[in-house]
Amino acid sequence: MNPADDTLVAGSAGSFPGRADPLLEAQARRVRWFAILAAGASALLLVLGAAVGSLGWEPLWDGSEAARAIVWDIRVPRSLGAWLAGALLGLAGALAQGLFRNPLADPYLMGSSTGAAFGVALLLVALGAAPGTATGAFAQLGLTGAGFLGAMAAVLLTLVLARGVQHTLRLLLAGVIVGVVFGALAALVMLWEPEVLRAMQAFLLGTTGLLGWTGALLLAAMLVLVLVAAVALSPALDALALGESAAASLGLPLASVRLGLVGAIALATGAAVAQVGLIAFAGLVAPHIVRSAVRPTHRALLLLSTLAGGLLLLAADVLSRWMLAPRELPVGVLTALLGGAYLLWLMHRRAA
């Protein structure tokens, strides 16, 4: 008698439905805990962010008009914006790692980061060349808009070079090339006009200092949009993990899925980079932070990476304001330090 039949007969009285299945529940519990912890830590850091200012720790809750203005006009939108930008980067990182099926993928792989840098550099030069035309509205829309447009242009160029999304490897290659070329172009612009060097340096190292309510609301809107798209695409990411043939055999429209993923990644990184500059590492590390604690399917992974990314960038932002007040450390340096330290600790724990 076939032993498989034995277990079938013996076991069919047991564990159904899957929701009450204890073995499977363990993971759902871990996902819930992670989400609660990350959300709680984020809330705590938001409060901290409202209390840390240009002179270090100084909670300004004394109700005076000036204090309220400082907290509400400057600190709260900055902290919120930092969390939102980090959330977008973490989400984009998880999407990129799913699309390219590579745990070392980061959301800047398709050239969006250097494309944004190029756009910003060009605009800074233009503003310098014709300062009279830079009225308030143009300048306001200008730099973030230029960054966003630059990022989109770079991703479009990548898609054109890769001739569509048919081959992931070609997409990756084209993205790397476009990224390098735009980076070189941005460097060329900076060399040509060294007056923009200092301003570009702030952009290249990442800065949350100029985030106001407009920026924060734009980031929030983009996060909602990309999250909806990401959750919609999450089953596809799981199927893709089995390989392209298997995914196609399950009826997955591969081309549409890939296009959707590329679009989501481009929008998320473009929006984040336009507001806070190039924050390295946050997108790469956030999914790893999640995976070190839980190993969920993509639907949960995407949501948790969003939380983890927001937490990471917010923590880096608060620290960057606090450590050398009133000077600031570039926030990108801190995300690299924090994220890198965590990964090192992970490696050490695994090796031990």
Binding site: I74, P131, G136, A325
Partner: protein, 288 residues
């Protein structure tokens, strides 16, 4: 025969008098056998210093950004502050190269056997010292006279500031970031001579990267910024509340004016006058 030998002896002993040893800001002694006649400058303020000492005709090459006086614009360009073209420099066969002591080209040029002098100019005191060192190297006089002229110019600028503006608080932004010029920078020193108060204290460094909230808290009465960065100021969260923004006391410097102010060199008096004009409200394009 003996007279001829005596003449030779005399000539030989007189020879070292023409040679000169100068020390640059790195503390390195540079031997110059004779006054240099072919000078290359890799820092705009150093080129301006040479010209201020009356030796403009000895310049054979300048960096890409040198633009004063007008005569240097026709000189061969040998690269930027960070990327000088070594071949070009050597091709000009200079007998002295003046550059920043942190320039990466320093070691290379020295290894190629060229006499180099590196300078570090951050404060007014540095400017004075550089004037005298360069004058020594060129074996020209006039360093002291030049400094006195600069000093008098700065004093005149200080006098041109209306007494009502004494003690006014000022924020000088060097570039978007925001990077500000603190009390310890040369701009800060000039502002102090003009009687203004810099909201950025000197202990933060010469050009620190600030938290924008700091400027809102400091609430300066006058903001000085480059024209290209001026338009974006109102978009910064909390900045419209600043006194200077509300009262329209934002001085926008053109690129040319920015050059004068940013370069710590012989045009310090002009820089001081520009800043004084700003404080007095005489600067063109002050109010939109």
């Amino acid at each position: 025969m003996r007279r001829w030998l005596l003449a030779l002896l005399l000539a030989l002993t007189a020879w070292p008098i023409l040679a000169v040893t100068v020390t640059d800001d790195r503390g390195v002694a540079v031997d110059l056998r004779e006054p240099p006649r072919r000078i290359v400058s890799l820092l705009p303020s150093l080129g301006e210093t040479v010209c201020a000492l009356g030796a403009c005709d000895r310049l054979v090459g300048v960096d890409d950004y040198a633009n004063w006086p007008a005569s240097v614009r026709s000189l061969p360009r040998v690269g930027g502050v960070d990327d000088p073209r070594i071949e070009r420099i050597v091709g000009l066969q200079p007998d002295l190269v003046l550059l920043s002591s942190t320039s990466r080209a320093l070691g290379r040029l020295q290894a190629l056997g060229l006499p180099v002098m590196g300078f570090d100019i951050k404060t007014l005191g540095d400017v004075r010292r550089v004037l005298s060192r360069v004058a020594d190297a060129l074996q020209v006089g006039g360093a002291d006279a030049a400094w006195r002229r600069i000093d008098a110019g700065v004093a005149a600028a200080a006098r041109s500031v209306p007494p009502a503006q004494h003690g006014v608080s000022v924020y000088f932004e060097v570039s978007a970031g925001p990077y500000a010029a603190s009390e310890s920078s040369h701009i800060g020193e000039i502002l102090a001579r003009l009687g203004a108060v810099n909201v950025v204290p000197g202990h933060l460094g010469t050009v620190p990267l600030l938290n924008p909230e700091f400027v809102v808290r400091a609430d300066p009465q006058v903001i000085m910024v480059a024209q290209r960065d001026a338009a974006a100021l109102a978009a910064r969260p909390g900045w419209p509340r600043i006194r200077a923004m509300r009262e329209g006391r934002v001085c926008r410097f053109t690129a040319e004016q920015g050059d004068v102010i940013a370069r710590p060199g012989p045009r310090l008096a002009d820089a001081a006058q520009l800043l004084a004009d700003c404080l007095a409200g005489r600067l063109q394009g002050d109010r939109p």
